[in-house]
């Protein structure tokens, strides 16, 4: 188990002698995926209740968005407060393609196409917008970039509010849920005699999707492009001297991040309500994703997922299973206030005492645990490697 999580969480490529590397990587990944996939099903079975599924589904969508932010800010070091702008772009693309056609005059447009069209389209359009905005934004650094991306959020709100035929204007609009042919998540029909609820269908759909996104990001970061991103984050001039094209690398990260944000946005609008007004894509939401990224731990795939669970899942759980009665007689302190206070307070505590985030904590625990089970670990690998190769191509 610790083996798996180590493999899966290490953002550095699992460094092994080339011969055994492929096999090791395959087996460990296979196990990681299996464990995740199975854990998923066990969860469905153990806590299949709609309440839990709702929490998990929201968390998974949020995790995709957090991963998108992680690509840009965590791995490439480009601070962004503007993720909701790209989420909005994706959401409205999806709505325009997949949404219902207008019933009353003045209703926003929709072509009720299948998810196989609107979900990818959401990502692609967001990515295109990213490619458009990127060159301007990426001339800036640090706080300047942060404030300019913050500006993006407000420009987005303004555009969304005024582009009525697509966004429905201030009134908001209905967003499409996943549907294949005549089957739709919104009103599911029995499949193989088993009737799953809407939440369960989303769960079945979101789990592999999140797994794919996470795997993709993980792969990018352990291959050439990702190494370039991280080099740019650590030292731009140094990276350039080593041969990294700064503009290319930054744009790559920006576009990939926008793509993922677009997909996340489309799902965020579709689930669980299927309705959103322009104000959905505001700064508060953007900041929640930043919180998720930092609390979970930057530059780590698992960190983003855990962070999303912490920032988006936990408050829902608190609210769902709150011991504090929710009624008018519960005076000053309701679970709403509680989670707001927790949110603010825990952010401060994390930034102060666990800057590496949840994942940093877990990693330290793993190191400790590994030492505990076999003290020679880590050195053993080095040793076997020294033996591994004899002659080098330099001699010839």
């Amino acid at each position: 188990m610790s083996e798996v999580t180590r493999e899966a969480t290490s953002d550095a490529p699992s460094g092994d002698a080339p011969t055994s590397q492929w096999r090791r990587f395959l087996t460990s990944r296979l196990r990681a995926l299996l464990l995740i996939g199975v854990a998923v099903w066990v969860l469905v079975f153990l806590l299949g209740g709609d309440n839990w599924l709702l929490i998990l589904n929201v968390t998974m969508i949020a995790a995709i968005a957090t991963l998108s932010l992680n690509v840009l800010s965590g791995y490439t070091g480009l601070i962004s407060l503007g993720i909701t702008f790209f989420m909005g772009i994706g959401a409205y693309t999806a709505a325009w393609l997949g949404g219902p056609p207008p019933t009353f005059p003045g209703d926003p447009m929709g072509h009720s196409l299948s998810i196989f069209i609107w979900l990818p389209a959401a990502g692609i359009v967001a990515a295109l917008v990213g490619a458009l905005v990127g060159p301007t934004a990426l001339r800036l650094k640090g706080f300047y970039l942060a404030i300019v991306t913050l500006a993006l959020v407000f420009i987005g709100l303004y555009l969304f509010k005024n582009a009525r035929t697509i966004t429905g204007g201030p009134q908001g609009r209905i967003f499409p849920g996943p549907s294949f042919g005549d089957f739709s998540f919104a009103s599911p029909t029995p499949v193989f005699g088993v009737l799953l609820t809407t939440n369960q269908w989303y769960f079945v759909f979101l789990t592999p999707l999140l797994a794919l996104v996470a795997l993709f990001v993980y792969n990018v970061m352990r291959s050439r492009a990702g190494r370039a991103f991280q080099a740019v984050r650590d030292n731009e001039t140094g990276a350039a001297i080593i041969g990294v094209n700064l503009f290319q690398a930054k744009m790559g990260a920006f576009i990939l991040s926008s793509f993922l944000a677009g997909i996340a946005g489309a799902l965020w609008a579709a689930y669980p309500g299927g309705y959103a007004e322009p104000n959905t894509w505001d700064l508060i939401l953007a900041i929640q994703f930043v919180a998720a990224l930092l609390v979970g731990g930057v530059a780590s795939v698992w960190g983003s997922i855990l962070g999303a669970a912490f920032v988006f899942g936990l408050p829902l759980a608190l609210d769902t299973f709150s011991i504090i009665p929710q009624n008018t007689s519960a005076t000053a302190f309701t679970s709403g206030d509680l989670s707001a206070i927790l949110y603010g307070g825990l952010i401060i505590l994390f930034m102060l005492f666990e800057p590496a985030g949840i994942i940093g904590f877990i990693r330290r625990f793993q190191v400790w645990a590994r030492r505990f089970e076999n003290p020679t670990d880590g050195r053993g690998k080095g040793g076997e490697v020294v033996a591994a190769s004899e002659q080098s191509e330099f001699e010839s």
């Binding site: 550095a12 590397q21 370039a228 080099a231 650590d234 050195r379 080095g382």
Partner: protein, 272 residues
């Protein structure tokens, strides 16, 4: 073939660099032959690192020209210098504290690899093969440099000497034709610097890579350099074989820190 032997691989002519009035480099000219180990020395603030920054296109010279293997280096952008065949080590480390040694070398392979974001994300056949091939390449380099043990250690948590060595390994991983070494033994113990010197000679003899070496450690330089250029206050005060440099009065005064008198350019010492 033999006209290459005559025409230098790198030639710097009249390079001048100024920051807000301060002249860091003043009309610096020299030429380096293919396969040569060329040392640049001089007291602190003599402009040694500024010179390297010109060669790796970090600083834009106010005047002068640089040609490398026949092409005008000043036409390139910073990141293109690497693909042109010039690698550089850093004087002070700590730029990439989180990167493991192996990753650092793989980063050095950047210009020799192709896969981009999409291919990398899919991590299918070609990308995987590329990664494996380059991993193997770096692995051998690590073994050669005796870094295999620390392969998975983040640079930040390595002792300074090993960081320098890893940095050199990274530069070699770039398979350069010209290697710029920014004080490779600075802050090293006697033992370590001796090892480093040996490695530099190996690079020269076994790989035949041209090297430009910036160093304080006179003894080391004198021991390994083919030719030496001495900078003081941004100006070239001497240039020639180690023996000539040791004998040069201007150099001695410069190092004894007296008023540098305008030293006659030792034309006898300059090649070509």
């Amino acid at each position: 073939m033999n006209d290459q032997a005559v025409s230098p691989q790198l030639s710097v002519s009249g390079v001048t660099v100024r920051f807000a009035g301060v002249t860091a480099l003043d009309d610096v000219s020299f030429a380096v032959q293919r396969g040569e180990l060329f040392a640049i020395i001089g007291p602190n603030g003599a402009g040694k690192t500024s010179l390297l920054n010109v060669l790796s296109r970090v600083y834009q010279p106010a005047a002068g020209g640089v040609t490398f293997a026949g092409r005008d280096l000043l036409k390139l952008r910073t990141h293109q210098v690497a693909s042109a065949g010039i690698a550089r080590t850093f004087q002070n480390q700590g730029q990439f504290p989180l990167t493991t040694v192996l990753d650092y070398l793989l980063l050095g392979r950047h210009t020799h690899m192709r896969s981009g974001v999409v291919l990398g994300g899919l991590y299918l056949g070609p990308t995987r093969a590329e990664e494996r091939a380059n991993r193997a390449y770096c692995q051998r380099l690590l073994d050669l440099m005796g870094l295999a043990r620390v392969r998975d250690t983040p640079l930040g948590s390595l002792p300074f000497g090993l960081q320098k060595r890893a940095d050199l390994a990274r530069a070699l991983a770039m398979q350069p034709r010209l290697l710029l070494l920014d004080e490779p033994v600075a802050g090293m113990g006697l033992e370590e610097s001796r090892d480093m010197a040996a490695i530099l000679l190996d690079i020269k003899e076994q790989l035949g890579i041209t090297q430009i070496l910036i160093e304080h450690d006179m003894a080391m330089v004198m021991g390994i350099a083919d030719r030496i250029l001495v900078l003081d206050f941004g100006r070239v005060i001497a240039q020639g074989l180690p023996s000539e440099i040791q004998a040069n009065p201007a150099v001695i005064t410069a190092y004894l820190g007296q008023e540098p008198q305008p030293a006659p350019n030792p034309s006898g010492a300059t090649t070509s």
